[in-house]
């Protein structure tokens, strides 16, 4: 009699999750607003400004000829006294300080910090100009060809990382935190007191994420395309596959992290413990190759590294499905192990 209007529990549980999210302005902002704002801020901070001019400080006594030669070679020269030169060098306003010979016949001195790459570059540039002005002949004929590979800008590197980070946060907060909140509210226990199947609830968590993920990805990709001209070099199918595998893997990690936590403070602490090291190590904002060689295998085994690298393989290097397999394998391993342990330790009450 009422049979026709009986809704399916998975549909109802999924609707519950989606409605709760859509009716929570905070959740909407963190899911959709925050990643866009972050990409705007970082995109502006690291926008391409053309080649940086080389700036040198010249102490009193540097000849007009030397200064003219440097200026015509594209170097900015700032006359400074000794104290001002030190301060400018320390704060990075000048890369090199040019000290004239104390007596004719003695050498020029270049004051610079060799630990700074731009200082070494400036020293080489300044030296080449001065040597040439003094009559040095180049023996080898060379020619420059300026290239700009698509995908080589910082924003091209950043967007795949932001995508991965956002999908990770979405799974962790959208599942881990929500599970613990339901446990604190005794809603988990109440649902179990009804003839609800546990797998229906877990399935609904996954399904509700699955409904939101396409919007999360599309929003960031479209935004990055329109504002920064970021392209996807490889196949969209591979990108979707990496996104889904990564989200599923982090959903399983979220279940593990939430399996026993009795309050939301505990679970937020645990999730930050899981996520913060990966924000730093996994190369969301800068390449993880900056870390020492010995740490590389460990870092590559992290799930966020796999997702970031997989995203970049597709978006920047143009990888297809086959090219993402190693990353998918890492994500699958994390997902399966976390899911099995999470279910074993899970506490409903």
């Amino acid at each position: 009699m009422t049979e026709p209007q009986r809704p399916h529990p998975v549909v109802q549980l999924t609707l519950m999750r989606l409605r709760e999210m859509m009716r929570e302005p905070g959740a909407l902002f963190w899911t959709f607003g925050f990643p866009v704002l972050l990409s705007v801020a970082l995109g502006i901070a690291f926008r391409v400004k053309g080649p940086e001019p080389v700036v040198v400080g010249a102490l009193p006594g540097v000849t007009v000829q030397a200064r003219d030669a440097l200026a015509s070679g594209g170097v900015q020269v700032r006359p400074l006294d000794e104290a001002a030169a030190k301060a400018a060098l320390r704060s990075g306003q000048v890369a090199v300080v040019l000290v004239p010979p104390a007596r004719p016949g003695e050498p020029f001195t270049y004051g610079f910090d060799p630990a700074r790459p731009e200082a070494r570059l400036a020293r080489a540039t300044v030296d080449a100009i001065l040597q040439k002005a003094a009559g040095r002949q180049d023996r080898l004929a060379v020619r420059d060809q300026e290239v700009s590979e698509p995908g080589s800008r910082y924003i091209d590197f950043l967007i795949p990382g932001l995508l991965a980070m956002n999908l990770m946060s979405g799974s962790m907060w959208g599942i881990g935190w929500v599970i613990v909140e339901m446990r604190v509210r005794k809603l988990l226990k109440r649902l179990l007191a009804a003839p609800m199947r546990r797998r229906h609830l877990l399935f609904a968590f996954g399904l509700s994420r699955l409904m939101v993920i396409p919007f999360e990805i599309a929003l960031i990709l479209i935004f990055a395309r329109l504002v920064f001209g970021v392209q996807v070099a490889g196949s969209y199918a591979a990108l979707v596959l990496v996104s889904l595998a990564g989200s599923a893997s982090f959903a399983a990690i979220a279940i593990l992290v939430a399996s026993r936590a009795q309050n939301t403070q505990t679970v937020s602490g645990l999730m930050n413990l899981v996520m913060l090291p990966m924000f730093v190590l996994s190369g969301v904002f800068f390449s993880s190759t900056h870390f020492p060689e010995v740490t590389r295998p460990f870092i590559s085994a992290l799930p966020l590294t796999a997702m970031c690298d997989g995203m970049r393989a597709v978006m920047i290097d143009g990888a297809g499905l086959a090219g993402t397999l190693p990353y998918l394998a890492v994500l699958a391993a994390w997902g399966v192990v976390s899911f099995v342990l999470g279910l074993r330790w899970f506490r409903w009450g």
Binding site: T2, P9, L15, E20, R190
Partner: protein, 328 residues
């Protein structure tokens, strides 16, 4: 729908039910070492009966109810619910029972009808939404978010969730705690209506008035043990007196002692509460009170307050344990 049928097996039966919380485990009352929460409980509840578990906080009511509901594994003992047991028949049992836990916070940003449809989806034969809303008088609130409901409305929604599939037995854990008197009476009306349809009810409460009004029989629990079982009338009759005389002396008027008060005519029980109020159980207060006045006049002591009322289950509890029910 079942009807009251004395020959049938009981709706609920438990024997030797025990729960020990091990050290560091279990939520709620966490203490060092093992905590014995329920100590060998035997209960039989007939079909169609409304049975009350009474006791102060920490007496083991919720632990008992959650074991009976199959939400908490007993350390020992046997539970038979509707002739079935939790190990073998969980899914069938869940279809046929309804539960309102102590303080479930339903999803705040779902509407009343969305919550009910969620719970309806779990059952094979849910009742129509309209009938559920009508039962708990929430028709006008059907599109309101849970967070916008009053305490009483939320509790009615929680009970509607328990009644979604017209259960044969309904478990209510402190259904009216913290509600105003009017909301409490509305909940009592819901329970009465459910019973009129033939349902069995197990409720816990620490409101004596609630137990006296709703329950056919009550079990008084204290520190995990059953200390008295019977109809409310039987338990009150067990006091030996149906009336209670309460008195309080003016400050600085000296003290009274138990032996003196007990020697007053027809007084059977004497109890001093923490607030300095003496309660005397008296068979004939019309004889006890004049004798009390004469005694005080003779001693020059003045009364701040003197009153007579009918004995309640609260007095039964005080007489059995020496403590008041709501001494938290």
């Amino acid at each position: 729908m079942n009807t009251i049928c004395p020959d049938a097996e009981p709706a609920l039966l438990c024997r030797g039910l025990r729960k020990i919380y091990e050290a560091g485990r279990g939520s709620g009352r966490k203490r060092a070492g093992a905590v014995l929460a329920v100590e060998g409980l035997d209960l039989t509840i007939a079909r169609g009966e409304c049975f009350g578990l009474l006791g102060p906080n920490g007496s083991g009511k919720t632990t008992t109810v959650e074991m009976l509901e199959g939400l908490l594994a007993p350390t020992g003992g046997e539970v038979k619910l509707l002739g079935m047991d939790w190990a073998h028949d969980e899914s069938r049992l869940r279809e046929r029972m309804g539960v309102a836990l102590q303080e479930t916070r339903l999803p705040e940003k779902l509407t009343v009808e969305e919550v009910l449809n969620l719970f309806r989806s779990f059952y094979q034969r849910p009742r129509p939404l309209q009938a559920l809303l009508a039962d708990v008088q929430l028709e006008e609130k059907r599109r309101a978010w849970v967070v916008k409901l009053s305490g009483g409305q939320r509790q009615r929604l929680a009970i509607a969730c328990a009644l979604v599939a017209e259960p044969e037995i309904l478990f209510l854990d402190e259904p009216t705690t913290g509600l105003d008197p009017q909301s409490r009476r509305q909940i009592w009306g819901l329970v009465a209506a459910y019973r009129a349809r033939g349902g069995t009810v197990l409720l816990t409460t620490h409101y004596m008035e609630e137990a006296q009004r709703l329950c056919d029989r009550v079990a008084i629990l204290d520190r995990g043990r059953l200390i008295r079982l019977g109809t409310p009338a039987e338990l009150i009759a067990g006091l030996g007196a149906e009336h209670v005389v309460e008195l309080e002396l003016e400050a600085g008027m000296g003290a009274l002692d138990e032996a003196t008060l007990r020697s007053l005519p027809t007084v059977t029980e004497v109890h001093l509460s923490g607030e300095g109020v003496w309660a005397l159980a008296a068979v004939e207060p019309e004889r006890a009170v004049p004798a009390l006045r004469a005694l005080l006049q003779e001693r020059g002591q003045h009364l701040l307050r003197l009153g007579t009322r009918k004995a309640t289950l609260e007095d039964v509890f005080v007489s059995l344990t020496g403590r008041a029910l709501r001494d938290d």
